[in-house]
Amino acid sequence: MLSLQIFAFAGMAQQPLKGKVLSGEDHSVLVGTIIKIDQDNQVFVTDDKGEFSIPIPVGTHDFYFSYVGYRSKKIAIQFPYADNLVVSLEREENQLKNVIVSTGYQKIAKERTTGSFSVINNKLFERSAGTDVVSRLADVVPGLIFNKNTPTAQKEGSFSIRGQSTLFANTKPLIVIDNFPYDGDINDINPNDVDNITILKDAAAASIWGARAGNGVIVINTKQGMYKQRLKISFNANVVTGKRPDLFYESKMSSAEYIEMEQKLFDQGFYKNSENSFTNAPLSPVVELLIAKRDGKIEGKEVDRQINALKNEDLRRDVSHYLFRNSFNQQYALNITGGEDNQRFNLSAGYDENKNSLIGNGYKRITLNANHTFKVLKDRMEVTTGIYFTNSKTENNNNGEADLRFNNSSLYPYAKLADGQGNPLHITSNYRESFLASSLQKGLLNWNFNPLDEINLIRRENKTNNYRFNFGVNYKLLPTLKAEILYQYAVINSQYNALQLAESYYTRNLINSFTAINPDGSLIRNVPMGDILDKSYSETNHQNLRTQLNFNKDWGGEHQLTVLGGYEINDMNSKNNSYRLYGYDHTHTISKPVDYVTLFPQSYDEYNFSQIPNNETGNDLTDRFLSFYVNAAYTWREKYALTASSRIDQSNLFGVKTNQKSVPLYSAGLAWNIDREKFYKLSWLPYLKLRFSYGYNGNIDKSVSGYTTAKFESGSGTYTGLPYANIINPPNPELRWERVKIINMGLDFGGKGNSFSGTIDLYRKYGLDLIGNAPFPSSTGITVFRSNTASIRSNGVEVTINNRNIDRAIRWDTNVIFNYNKELVSKYEIKEGVNNYLMGGVSGSYPLVGQPLYAIYSYKWAGLNGNTGDAQGYLDGNVSNDYDKIVQNAKLENIIYNGPARPAYYGAIRNTVSYKNFSVSANVSFRLGYYFRRNSVNYSNILQGMGGHGDFSKRWQKPGDEKFTQIPSLPAIGNFNQSNFYTYAEVLVEKGDHFRLQDVRISYDFSKESIKSLPFTHAQIFVYANNIGLIWTANHKNIDPDYQYMPSPRTIALGLKIDF
């Protein structure tokens, strides 16, 4: 009343300000928003439609809007104001108390949990751009790391949660989508359909998933409609361009150096054997020129001129120019969602089209989703249906550099792929040019290999249709008891086609190799003329059925008990068939039969007998689980929470005996909300919670069985052609699940007004009963025995800190994720030869007790010899260059353990600054405490004319050079052990520690409240740059420890998001 009087006193005309307050997150109305005007005490509240109408005098007034859980907003409005004001409030980030975690079995408030969960909300998830879901989790989830220590790990996008707790079993975290385990290709999921993601890390969080929880669980919830929500349409479009890869990143021997080496080897007679070889092994163009010069076929001067010209060529220029391009990915997504009092729905459509950096390769994806939920029986029953469809097509016509081979090694660096006019040129690859010429005369097909032509002559294509149908019904039997049935049927069909046209080198090469020449000169073509078509089909059918009871009772805030229990059937079958057609005619789809049994001499080497490659394979795999689970949570006065969970899994993998003996995997947890205690007085820290959990998760190894099992083979590849069987598994009735015991302690805290918040977790993990190999006396008939013999132990720390540094017109937030993880093999029975640890330590294939699973070892290095430039190591404690002996006498005791090959410390620091509608955010990631082996010269390869690393030019050449180089001199003759010693020497091991500016995102928001004429409620445009570059590395060689061969190309995304 007072304020009205003041306005009245001003004597100005009053007009009511009408408007509405919405949640900025989902545009639902915010009923009961508090509105204050200027410095006045008068309070207005929005009605049950979220609307308000306030009489306001002319002039400029500040309006303050506040709502619990949302950021307060101040808007200055100039009156008179004709339009309806629409105000949207943003949800408070880091509001720990409001976070809902989802386990796939239930959704519960984080404050009532005892386990270690990380929740990625939609906003953080949409911060990055890209086609797939998983890569968006990089550097934003505590405990999760993408492994980059080996090229394979990198290629497969391998990632792990809190390190690895198994040796040879499955290492992938379980992915759960909309309540059920997802076994399809994760790339079939459109990231625009993802609403939120919860990562389950410790036993209390994950043990509900039992035998599949050992590697952690990623629970993905797709977008759903909400009751009483107005119709909302949003549209998303973005394009991502990536630079073509930098082929010059790894230093290589120059063409001139390569040619000089070839000349030198030629003078030494190195190519004599190949010249006379029975196998018609190829000789490089330079060697052929030198032979012509020696034999007087071409004049010496002309040869020298031609060779000098080749010295200026660089294959990488051609590869970069003709095989690569800038990648260009487009993504469009449309989402329609809404809800009424008793039904809600969500519809979405997405289209992706990617042009990869390799010309001719691409990816297309269409996704269509629809789900609908309705309530009946006076809201006591809820029925949900959902259909999810993905169609994707991958084209892989260009293998890039992988196809550019010379004599099964890398191609000579002076090769040219095209002439000055861009016409494709042929390269020498598998055979001598003179042999190819004579073959042509004998009537064989042209045997030239023109790499640029191949891209158009080979069509490799994979098409996948992925369907998921969901049906769910829950029924409130009593106010406290709900029964639930969930069912999912998923079908994935995929078809792979590789058509190698008759003109392709692949096909011509195979036809020619299998052509026999009769004494009369006539030809027998054992591989018929025509295209070669490889085809494979796979079909996966997956059914899940879950029946569950939920009990939930609250005794007036004093006690609260939630119990859920149920059982689940999981039945997955996948069938796979592939075959090959020879003599195929793609216009008429007819083919010709071939003889797969006879071994035919190869036309290029009569002592080489081969069967015609028969790509006929098939399999039929079934995974079945029957699981029983129960989970309970009790809270007393919201202060203490106690949780327990238990699950029994039985499967068809292990044999019935093992199932009958199965022991439940269980967990227990305890949480204490200290801030609820009466004695708690820290007003600057209103949120403080201590957690403790203990329990077991399981893991699966599909390669073992409890029975004597033999594998049936068709025998089509053997000499007799008879079907036969291999014994793959001696009986092992003792076989059981791998178990991961996890002890976790956590502390969650939050400051006043969310000025800061954070989480600290300390954990210990024990991988127990791990399936490992034990050496077995081979007189038993087997040499190794796979059984539950190994264990791993790891310790870790996870810290997340969110801090609001400035909270004014400019807002500046910092989020820090820090992880420490150290894993050690604690029990393993095989000790391998030292060589395996040196060469394979990084791959994790050779566990060694007391060491990390992924480790770098090296030979002790004694520098270069000042007189000869020889690499020197130690033999029995003395400096030596007797490489054979050094290698032979290497023992674990006299080699160096440098350290782990995967980071012990890793994390990210993300800063976000926003001002008005502008927001800039940058993420710096770091990986510390690990080692990698850098590449250098391999003289036994170089001395076989195979070229090598660019360190060659920096090698020791004269006494004194040892002062500034550690690269050994070129030995007179190649010695495998010399190369072996240097490749695995201490001097080539580098620290991997680095900081990287991973990405930067700049966005600008438009909203109706600031620009009234907008035809939509909200829009955002953004620019997102990814893989920006290193900030600091411990190594001084400018090597990116994560990308030794080729750095991940920088990408820039431009995007637009509109909400109507």
């Binding site: 071994l599 007998f609 079945r624 068809n652 033999a710 000499y719 007189s779 095989i830």
Partner: protein, 463 residues
């Protein structure tokens, strides 16, 4: 009404769900290609595992014997255990966990035992009885052959007087892997070998078309080979004769083209050339494949006479190089393994040797000449004659070495013949200026037992 419908529908669903899981749901095989051996068909397929399990013979003895020669450069490219075998080193496989020459025969024993145990559990119907017996015979044959290959390498030369004192090999007669191995004595080992092959002989078919499967003739031939190795010339001669009574045809080498540089004999698969009784190939080590730098002892090569077609068919000449490599394997055209199976020519030579040792010189020479005439150019062969048994034996043993070149028989012959001072041979190798010598009856004729076995309690062979 509608509410009731919903309620009862839900109730039905809930109850149906609780019963949804059928019995046997978890008995489904995880992989359709898997089988737990139970039927005759399963056993047959286990026994038909020729390329990975059964039809493989040892190879380290070939590297140790005196047929092949190589140089330092090539040796340095070979695996350490190949190099060590060639140089008769004391320790052959330092640090090597899996020694193929030991583990492969034992894998054969393991498979054979699983087959025998599975057959034991099958009560064959009258219709299946024949197949059941045949499979049992095949399993016994494979086990006996595997045990023989093991004693050949890992036990001392058989001697009637001391065989029950000498260590033999572990005789694993059950498939259970958790039973420790113990070395039986040499007499027991040979008894088991003879027992297995004799049992096989009674059960096998007279003739198997496919040469990776043993038949009765093959069992006779193997018995002849084993008894010869035991210096039981009466029995060896008897079984060679039993075999030759069933199959004695020889290839006329004039019908085989020596054109080109390829391998001249027809493929051993699936039915083989007419001399092959049973196929077995030597483990595919790098040595002695058809590597140009691993040559045949030039002195041996010179011993083949001008009109002897084997001189053309067995060897590959390389342009500009004096030395020759071996190409005349009975494996034939299309496999890279050396033939170490059983063939008719070996039976002629065993028969001839046994006759000569029994002083039946004329019969012995007749048998030898019957073989050799097929090896010579048509109308050039002059029948060999011998005036006494020593001369006959000399001729026969010389032809044995030449005919059975690279068949994996030489090492066993050396072991056996070294006991006789007349035929004892001192082996010498000259590598990089260093001379290596292996005296007759040297302890190094017995290969060491792999370390993993010694660690599990087996007695090591002194070297």
């Amino acid at each position: 009404m509608k509410n009731k419908l919903y309620k009862s529908l839900f109730l039905i669903l809930f109850i149906v769900n609780l019963m949804a899981c059928k019995k046997g749901f978890l008995d489904e095989k995880p992989d359709k290609a898997l089988l737990v051996p139970e039927t005759l068909q399963d056993v047959k397929q286990l026994l038909d595992n020729s390329s990975q399990v059964f039809n493989i013979s040892t190879g380290l003895d070939v590297m140790s014997a005196d047929e092949y020669i190589t140089d330092q450069t090539t040796l340095s490219t070979l695996e350490a255990y190949e190099r060590n075998s060639y140089l008769w080193e004391k320790d052959i496989y330092p640090g090597v966990i899996n020694v193929g020459d030991w583990s492969i025969p034992y894998q054969q024993v393991f498979y054979a035992n699983i087959a025998l145990e599975t057959l034991e559990k099958i009560n064959p119907s009258a219709k299946d009885k024949k197949e059941w017996s045949r499979l049992k015979g095949i399993a016994f044959f494979y086990r006996g052959f595997a045990f023989y290959n093991l004693v050949k390498l890992f036990a001392a030369q058989y001697d009637k007087r001391s065989a029950d004192q000498l260590p033999g090999i572990p005789l694993r007669l059950k498939s259970a892997v958790n039973v420790s191995s113990v070395r039986a004595n040499l007499q027991e080992s040979y008894n088991q070998i003879i027992n297995d092959i004799t049992s096989a002989n009674k059960l096998l078919l007279l003739n198997e078309e496919i040469k990776t499967r043993p038949d009765k003739k093959a069992a006779f031939a193997l018995l002849a080979r084993v008894f010869l190795s035991m210096e039981d010339y009466t029995n060896a001669g008897k079984y060679a004769d039993s075999c030759l009574r069933l199959q004695s045809n020889l290839i006329d080498y004039n019908t085989i083209s020596s054109e080109g540089t390829g391998r001249p004999f027809p493929s051993a698969f699936p039915t083989g050339n007419l001399e092959i009784l049973f196929f077995s190939g030597i483990i595919s080590y790098d040595f002695p494949t058809f590597n140009a730098d691993i040559i045949i002892d030039p002195i041996l090569y010179e011993r083949y006479e001008v009109n002897d077609l084997r001189k053309l068919l067995f060897f590959r000449k390389q342009s500009g190089i004096e030395s020759v490599t071996f190409r005349g394997t009975y494996t034939g055209k299309n496999d890279n393994k050396l033939f170490a199976g059983l063939a008719v020519d070996e039976m002629y030579l065993i028969g001839a040797e046994c006759l000569a040792r029994q002083n039946r010189i004329e019969e012995a020479m007749a048998l030898l000449n019957k073989l050799l005439i097929t090896r010579w150019r048509t109308n050039t062969y002059v029948a060999k004659i011998a005036s006494d048994s020593a001369e006959a034996l000399h001729l026969i043993l010389d032809e044995r070495k030449k005919e059975l070149l690279a068949r994996g028989l030489r090492w066993d012959d050396l072991k056996r013949l070294n006991k006789d001072p007349i035929y004892a041979t001192e082996l010498r190798r000259n590598v990089n200026g260093k001379l290596y010598v292996l005296k007759p009856n040297d302890l190094r004729y017995v290969l060491p037992i792999p370390d993993t076995e010694v660690a599990n309690g087996l007695i090591q062979n002194p070297r």
